[in-house]
Structures are given as C-alpha cells and as structure tokens.
C-alpha cells in the first residue's frame, strides 16, 4: 500500500509493523509526531504495547533499558537536547547489550537556540557504542527501522536511526508500506538468548574487575565491527523480500570518479544531482552517502572511493578545535590506504539548506583552492560571516 506520509509518521508506522512491545519516549521537536502517533496507535489498540510516558529522556532510555532486558522489543525516539540528556543511559543500553531501536531527529544543540537540522547531536554520541544510521528519505526511514531490529537483535547492540530534522522528519513523501504479514515473515518475534528471569535471578551490569572488563569490551568491539557485514546481509534479505536495497553506503558513479562528494542524511540526493551536473561540465564526479557511520563501513567505503583523487566531505556538524566529524572519520578510514585528498566542508548546520548548486560550489573551491567559503583549521565553512 502506498501512502504519502512524513518521516516521523513512517518511523511510528515502522515501530508498529515491527510489533514493538514497549515504547518509552518523551516528545521533543522535531520528533514529536512520532511519539504522538505511537501513543495513538497504543491507545486505539493498533499496537499492542506498553506506552510509558516518562518525565525526561534519561528516564525514557532507562525505561527502555529495563524493558529490553526483560526480552521485549523496545522503541524510543528523541532529538538533540533529549539525546544529550540520555547520554549516560546510551552507554548503559550499549554496554548492557540491549537491542533497542531509537529514532533521533537531528537538531541543533543550543545555545543559541535553534530547532533545525544539525548532526552534532548524534555524532557527539558516536562513542557510546550505538550503531548509527542516517536516513536519506522517508522510505529509507520505514525500511531501515525494520532492518535495524533484525541487525540489533542479532548483534545484541542498540541502533540509532537518524533523521534530518524537518528535512526528513517533516517532509511528506510517497512511501510503500509493506503488509504486516510480509513484515512478520521478515522480522519474527524477538527471541533473546538472555533476559531478566525471576526464576533464575542474576545481577545485570554488576561490578566487574579489570580482567573481565577489558575482555568484555574487546568482545563488544568485535561484535560491533561485524555489524557492517550483518547489516549488508539483513539489507539483502530485505531487498529480496521487498525489492528495496538499503546498503551501508550508497555510491553513485564513484567507480571512475576523480572527485567524490560524501554526505550523510538527506543531502545525499543533492550530492547525486551535483555529481550529475559536474559530469555534464566534464568533471569526473561521483557521490556517496554514508548510511552507517558506527560501525564505520570501512570495507564498502574504501572500495567505493578507491579511484578518487579528491573527496569532498559535507559536515552538518563541527567538533570544535578539530574539524567536521565525518571528515575526521573518513581521514581515519583512509589513512595509509589512499592518497586521496580529503576536503572537509562545514555547511547546512542549524538548518541551512544544502542545494546541488552549493555542493558544486564546494567542489569547485576544493579543486581550485579559491571561493567564497572560509577556510578555518582543517575545514572550510560555507555561508558564514567572519
């Protein structure tokens, strides 16, 4: 069935189709519609789940941690400051090996106060141990949440599904909604190997000495690294069932490209159009959208950009005192593996639109070394007054 819905509505619908059993969430712009929709689905009985109204995002995630530990399929949604408030509990969810799936609507952090798209909120939670995925369009939101449960429950790790605030949360698009029967076939009920069991009491997250602590972390890293392949496998299964592929990286004409524009989130569409325009002008351009950023899809990424001489990275975020976070990730990935030059651009933070024209301008500035954008540290800032 096809319907015109917003990204936030698609996320709620995906949670319903995944038959989540517990939802604990606190509303925040621009995620609110998801929470409203889920609350409504539970109230009308369309979703048989426990809906917990909590007093903060910290409690929302704490409730999800508890629920997930009892073996329930658990969903929550947040944004920006809410995500920041969850920080401690994000570690708890990942360290507890709990396959929670969470929507995060990417929004700028204040002050100054701003409600619009910015990736610093989720990227500053990179090291909490959550799998992080960035969606390109509304269909991607719905499909990715279904794939996410499959991957999360296999890896026993939580997944954060990121949606560009307003650009994706509030954009209505035509979405192909799979039937419940099809989804049930793809995503059976969660069967945890371990869960809280009153008949076999255990302490969860008990004190652990240095000997085992390091070993347990090492195993978590091993399991996290395996997620790139696990995602590809689950995405392939999904493509076989529903005819839509959601790979870890979405590359466009990158095989023979000299310059590849790398983005995360909704800017991927603009990057694709920019690459097409540049090709028409005679520039061998390609584009690449990173779906996963944790774990970093090292294999898919290096394979996709192996011929590139220039990599133009769009960062809708900034790590103060260093540079854009995605650019750092790419440099770390390519170090010793490629001689490509990485050009980091900080643009579209706090809601500025990313158009194909702006991206073409960035590519020109990267290749020529001249342009209107401001070079600062390792990054070039677009549309700023200095």
């Amino acid at each position: 069935m096809k319907k015109v819905i917003m990204g936030t509505e698609a996320a709620a619908l995906a949670a319903v189709l995944a038959r989540v059993q517990v939802v604990a969430a606190y509303p925040i712009t621009p995620q609110t519609v998801t929470v409203e929709e889920l609350s409504n689905y539970v109230a009308t009985g369309e979703l048989e789940a426990e809906f917990l109204s909590v007093e903060s995002e910290h409690s929302a995630m704490a409730a999800c941690v508890g629920a997930s530990a009892t073996g329930c399929r658990t969903f929550t949604a947040t944004s920006s400051h809410g995500l920041a408030l969850m920080h401690e509990m994000l570690h708890h969810a990942a360290g507890g090996r709990l396959p929670i799936v969470m929507l995060n609507a990417n929004r700028a952090l204040s002050p100054p106060w701003n409600l619009y798209c910015d990736h610093t909120d989720s990227l500053s939670q990179r090291d909490t141990g959550w799998i992080q995925l960035y969606c390109s369009d509304v269909q991607d939101v719905l499909d990715s949440i279904l794939i996410a449960y499959k991957v999360a429950e296999q890896a026993m790790l939580p997944i954060m599904i990121n949606l560009d605030g307003f650009y994706l949360t509030h954009t209505s698009e035509i979405v192909d909604i799979p039937s419940q029967m099809e989804v049930d076939r793809y995503l059976p009920a969660y069967q945890p190997a371990e869960k809280v069991d009153p008949d076999a009491p255990s302490t969860y997250g008990a004190v652990c000495g240095a000997d085992l602590y390091a070993s347990l972390k090492c195993r978590r890293q091993k399991d996290m690294l395996a997620v790139e392949e696990a995602w590809l496998e689950a995405a392939n299964d999904f493509a076989n069932a529903f005819g839509r592929l959601h790979p870890t990286v979405e590359a466009y004409m990158s095989e023979d490209a000299e310059v590849v524009i790398v983005t995360i989130g909704t800017a991927g569409g603009a990057a694709l159009l920019a690459a097409q325009s540049l090709r028409r002008e005679g520039v061998a351009a390609g584009s690449l959208r990173l779906g996963l950023i944790r774990p970093f899809p090292k294999r898919s990424f290096t394979e996709a950009v192996k011929g590139a001489k220039h990599i133009v990275v769009l960062d809708r975020d900034i790590s103060f005192g260093a540079e854009g976070i995605v650019a750092q990730e790419i440099k770390a990935c390519l170090y010793g593996r490629s001689f490509a030059q990485v050009h980091g651009f900080v643009a579209g933070i706090g809601g500025n639109d990313i158009t194909p024209e702006k991206l073409i301008e960035m590519v020109r500035q990267a290749l020529s070394g001249t342009g209107d954008s401001v070079f600062l540290g390792e990054s070039t800032w677009v549309e700023v007054i200095v």
Binding site: A193, E194, P201, S202
Partner: protein, 382 residues
C-alpha cells in the same frame, strides 16, 4: 567466595550479567536504616471506642468476603449489627477521606457486614476451667461475657428478667428492631458458647471464681436494676463492670462504649484471676496523618477489585469499600515489591504480610517512600 574461572569469553553471556548465584553478597551489611513493615492504628480505629480494625474489615468487604469481614469485627465487637445501627460513628469523623471528598460510610458497611456475614466460626482459647458469672445482660455485660467466653472461661449470664439485652430492649423499633437484637444475641451466644440463666433471682457465689455485675444494663430504679442489686448482695464479692474508681476511663453514653467497657472488664477479670494473656497487647503505633501519601488516588488495586465486584449483588458496598484508603494498614497492594530495586520485599500469602530480606536489603528506603499507606517505617536499629 571462590573466583570464577573463565577460560574463554564464550563462557560468559553476551549481556553483562552474573552467571552464578549472587546471594553470597550480603548487601544487607551496607544498610543504615532498616525498613520495618508495621501496621499503624488508622485515624478511624483511633476514633472507634471499640478500636475495630476498620481498614481490615473494609478490605474484606471489598473482596466480597463478608464472612472474613465479620470475623474481623467479631474479634473485638460481639454485636456489630447493633453498633452498626446505633453508633454515632466517631470513626467517620476521624476518616482521612473526609478531607478529600467525604468520609467512608463505615457504619453502613459495618451494618451490612453484620447482616450478611452469617454466623462465622471463631476460635476460642483453650478452656481454663474457671467459672464466671455475669449479672445483667446490657451491652457491657454481654460484651464482658462474650470476651471472657472467647478467652476460655466458663460463663453464665444471670439475667433477672426473661430476656437478654438490657436497655437495648427499650429502644424504639425504628432504631433497633427486636428482630436484629435477637439475631445479634443469638450469634453472640453461638460464637462464644456461653450459658444463660434468665429469670435468675440470686447468685450462688460458691459456684463461681468471680462474679461480674453490669449496672449499666438497666436504668437505675427500674425493677431489673433493683434485682441486680440483690445479686450484688448475694454474691458478696464482685467486680463492677463499670468500676467507677480507676475504671476504663470513660463514661458509657452509647452502645459502642458499653461494648468497649465489657472488653475492658474482661481484661480486668483476667488480671484479677492472674490468667491474662500478654500477647493481647498490640505493638502498633498510632498513625500520624502526615505519614500517608494520597497523591495516587485511586489506588490501582482498589480499582481492580472494584472492577471484579461490578455487576454483583454487593456492588454498592464494594464501591463504598473501595473508597477506603486503608490508612496505615497494609492491604498488600505490593507497591513495595514492585519498587524494591533489590527484590528484597516478598509477599507472605499465608500470613498476609510483607517480608523483607534483611540479608540483602541495603536500606535505600524506596519501599517506605512508595508505600501509599505509611506502613513501611525506616528505622535506625543499631
């Protein structure tokens, strides 16, 4: 504790949870304050001259268990059908609910319990082989006789007239019908197993270890009152139920007080005969209203029980009973069990109480904070 030997990470579950019994870790040693499950005397109980366990009997009404509800009352009051009609209900004046909407109709629930509870079986204490005569059968005399019989004494009520009840007989039919009075007295006799001698003219004092006299049974100057005075002179030594000097400390102005007086006299008798049970003294402390938390009205459990009662014949009673907040009285709502982060609170279904695992309780106090009825105390027990 012997350290676990881990050869491979695969021996450990993916979730970071303990793989062996952790009860060796006696976290109770970390505790400073100790939770103490202790029922308090609710304001209504304190208001009641008889001290009836009001939250307890109402809880049984809520569960549709009229028999248990009546047993709770008969343990302290031999004639709830009479007090349930005549009492001016100081319990309701003290009801906490009064400050929220209106007091629970305790008196009506008491009357209903007496009317619906039948004749339950109460356990009497083992026979002591001591014989006591109770002269006069007003509510105080009946009450003294009843409690002493329940305590294992052989009781004979000596009544100068041909019927039991004393001044209760003279009440207008509209206030207390003779039918109800007969029924209440019949039950009192049946439950306690005491003997009756109506139309008695004297006391053969030698037959008894002690003689009690109920002067409150009849108005002074009545023929029955004069007959009782004859009993007094034929008995020689006797204990006056009213015992004006150093007595129960209150004047009998109504039936509930007469019942209370009878119970007090029964305790006095035991003291005199040296056969008192010390376990009677209740370790409860009185409840301070400040200890109660009513932010979560109405209580979840209450709603559930009310739902169950819906449509049944006792719906109105259950609806009224559901309004009782069970102040200071554990109604096994199990909030503490749900709230305890260390799973240290446990329900003892047989005893109907909450047991705390003090080997592992860290004394965090969440149970006490959560308890909506002020039952769980946090105490410093060195």
């Amino acid at each position: 504790m012997e350290k676990c030997k881990i050869e491979s990470i695969k021996q450990l579950p993916v979730m970071p949870l303990t793989i062996e019994d952790m009860t060796w870790n006696k976290t109770g040693t970390w505790r400073l304050l100790t939770p103490v499950w202790m029922n308090k005397i609710a304001p209504c109980i304190r208001g009641c001259p008889i001290g009836q366990p009001i939250p307890q009997f109402i809880q049984a009404v809520l569960e549709g268990d009229w028999g248990t509800a009546l047993v709770r009352l008969l343990e302290v009051n031999p004639m709830p059908g009479i007090t349930g009609r005549l009492c001016y209900h100081p319990c309701q004046t003290a009801c906490v609910r009064k400050d929220l909407d209106s007091a629970v109709s305790i008196k009506d629930l008491e009357r209903l319990t007496a009317d619906k509870g039948g004749i339950p079986r109460l356990t009497r204490r083992a026979a002591k082989g001591r014989k006591i005569a109770v002269c006069g059968s007003g509510p105080a005399g009946l009450s003294a006789a009843y409690f002493l019989a329940m305590k294992g004494y052989l009781i004979t009520i000596l009544e100068p007239s041909d019927r039991l009840g004393g001044f209760l007989r003279d009440l207008p039919e509209g206030r207390l019908s003779s039918e109800v009075l007969e029924r209440e007295i019949r039950r009192l006799i049946s439950v306690s197993g005491l003997d009756i001698e109506t139309n008695a003219s004297e006391v053969r004092a030698r037959k008894y270890d002690l003689v009690l006299l109920d002067r409150t049974a009849y108005p002074s100057e009545s023929p029955e009152a004069r007959a009782l005075e004859k009993f007094a002179s034929s008995a020689g030594q006797y204990l006056d139920v009213e015992n004006k000097e150093g007595g129960a400390g209150f004047k009998v102005v109504q039936v509930a007080e007469a019942v209370a007086l009878g119970r007090w006299a029964s305790n006095q008798t035991e003291q005199i005969l040296g056969t008192a049970f010390t376990e009677e003294s209740q370790p409860f402390t009185a409840l301070d209203k400040g200890e109660l938390k009513f932010s979560r009205l109405p209580d979840q459990k209450t709603i559930d029980l009310l739902e169950r009662a819906k449509g049944g014949p006792d719906e109105a009673a259950a609806t009224e009973a559901a309004r009782c907040l069970s102040c200071g009285t554990c109604n096994l709502c199990q909030s503490c069990i749900i709230a305890c982060p260390d799973a240290c609170c446990r329900l003892d279904e047989d005893e109907g109480k909450i047991i705390i695992d003090l080997y592992h309780c860290k004394g965090c106090g969440i149970c006490s904070y959560e308890c909506p009825r002020g039952v769980m105390n946090m105490e410093y027990l060195p």
